[in-house]
Amino acid sequence: MLRAFAIAVASASLLTVSVAGQAPKPAPKPEPRAGAAPTARSLARARANNAYKVPRTAWGEPDLQGVWSYATTTPLSKPDAAGDKTFLTDEEVAQLAEETAKRQDSAPRTGDPGTYNNFWWDRGVSIGRTSLIIDPEDGKLPPLTPEAQKARAARQAYQREHPADSYLDRSPTDRCIMYHGVPPLPSGYNNTYQIFQTPGMVAILDENIHHVRLIPMDGRPHLPSTIRNWNGDSRGHWEGDTLVVDTMNFNDKTNLRYGGSSNTHAVERFTRVSNDLIDYQYTITDPTVYTKPFTVAIPMPRRDDRIFEYACHEGNHSMEGILNGARADERRAAEAAAAKAKPQ
């Protein structure tokens, strides 16, 4: 994961990397990570293996410690093109990986300085399903509430007109405030968790923006609802061998990738089904935005690797680039308008 660290130094932003203007690097042959594909099937196999005994910590809790990866190219919501299909064959997974690699290595459009090439991205491969959502059964995000539809349309309209008037118009990701979110959705790199356990406490370190979630396991209540956070407030407990983490108290700016509100309530479930795989699922309930709850499943294979410091804000040259670029565009537009208005 040191490669990802280097990316962080070079440029911090995922959605706006085109501004950073990275010089293309020689790309190695794209190879799907061995063993990662298709994790949906390894997960089903591991789940069926009832004989697996989860290792215990010295004080008797299921031991989930280590570095785990939620990297995958599988989309959150099932694309219409997938039709009724739920699972993918190994060949389809390999083909998708090749297409992703090709796309990432292809030359940018004219006028676009381009972004990282396939060497730099670390997206993982498809888990072998057509969506990360497993409930509702159609694999799709539930319909938005009428209020959320209106709010989203208004925001999109505003964003089209004001893509970068100020840093406030950029996403929390571009601003290095939060990255994968809680619970996370995979991005282009650093989709990595490290789990630490001590009696009464679980800590989850997300590689991106070195975000640490400290999860009390001592039964204490959530923070009062007057305290609201970008990453919410998490409390955990054990249900059998499963670590259950309950998160609420989000602020109204959080803007998770699946589009939550301050009423988001997330329940994550971590179950170690083999030495090398955690069955990771979470259910999002947000009556302000979604007409019903939905459940996401991202099998997390163990990664025999370390997490490194991702200094996002400290290296966020992209923000200056984005804002400077927008001001330059405005100047050019104003000059063009002035030239046009001038009588010939």
Partner: protein, 269 residues
């Protein structure tokens, strides 16, 4: 027989008294509770209570930089946490320190919400939490959500430069010793312009001196900046409130106007 018993008793009392007398940073009498793997248990939420983040050296109270905030946000006085009082700068480095101090508001990385580095994160004035496992110890800091992993199980040299350094630890009896290298030259020690180069090498010592106190010492070595290694020390206090927890202080949003405000679109005239 009786005399000998009295003598032994007196000796024991004296020893107990001697052992229980705290000598700054040197108390060795206390034996911390153990973790399941038999090591001193340093888990918990800790915080320094001093003004070292303003200036690790002696400093008198002075007017804060924002006149309008008057007495509320002026600079509190404090005594040096540096052994011997002063940092042994090389002459050219001392000149740079003075220049830094004169340009504090434009140069101090803390103002931009950059990760504070070690040892500054320890005494920045925000709580930090130790999550201690046998092979790795996570240290999570409230400010900027900074964190670092202290590797107890590897000797590998730093693979790169990091804001929070590259930490490898080991136990020396009651003491957790953390060797930190792999720094950038971008972090400072305080708001007084005290600085270092990327050659910085910090050796920290964490020792429980009671159920709710740690002794913290850091030996600082950087031949490019200092004429000899020097040491800081201070107690750290456990946050004993029942509901103590690190809260979210993502300070980026408080530095953005300062850093990017000048690049915003000007309102139409």
């Amino acid at each position: 027989m009786r005399n000998r018993l009295m003598l032994a008793l007196a000796a024991a009392v004296a020893a107990a008294f001697w052992l229980s007398t705290p000598t700054h940073g040197q108390t060795r009498a206390y034996r911390a509770p153990r973790t399941p793997d038999g090591k001193p248990n340093l888990n918990g939420t800790w915080q320094a209570m001093n003004t070292a983040n303003w200036d690790v050296e002696d400093h008198v109270a002075r007017q804060g930089p924002v006149i309008g905030l008057g007495a509320s946000f002026s600079i509190p006085p404090g005594q040096s946490v540096v052994e011997g009082g002063q940092i042994p700068y090389r002459p050219e480095a001392l000149a740079k320190k003075k220049e830094n101090a004169a340009n504090w508001m434009t140069r101090d990385p803390e103002i931009k919400c950059y990760m504070p580095g070690i040892p500054r994160a320890t005494y920045q004035g925000y709580p930090f939490q130790i999550v201690q496992t046998p092979k790795q110890i996570l240290m999570a800091y409230e400010f900027a959500n900074a964190s670092r992993i202290v590797y107890m199980d590897i000797k590998d040299p730093s693979p790169s430069a990091f804001w929070m350094g590259w930490s490898r630890g080991h136990w020396e009896g009651e003491t957790l010793v953390v060797d930190v290298t792999g720094f950038t030259d971008q972090t400072w020690f305080d708001r007084a312009g005290n600085f270092h180069s990327e050659a910085l090498h910090v050796v920290e010592r964490y020792t429980a001196t009671g159920p709710d106190h740690l002794s913290y010492e850091a030996t600082i070595e950087d031949p490019q900046t200092f004429t000899r290694p020097w040491k800081i020390s201070m107690p750290l206090y456990r946050r004993v409130e029942k509901n103590a927890q690190l809260l979210e202080y993502i300070c980026v949003e408080f530095a953005e106007e300062l850093m990017y405000g000048h690049l915003a679109k000007k309102p139409a005239k």
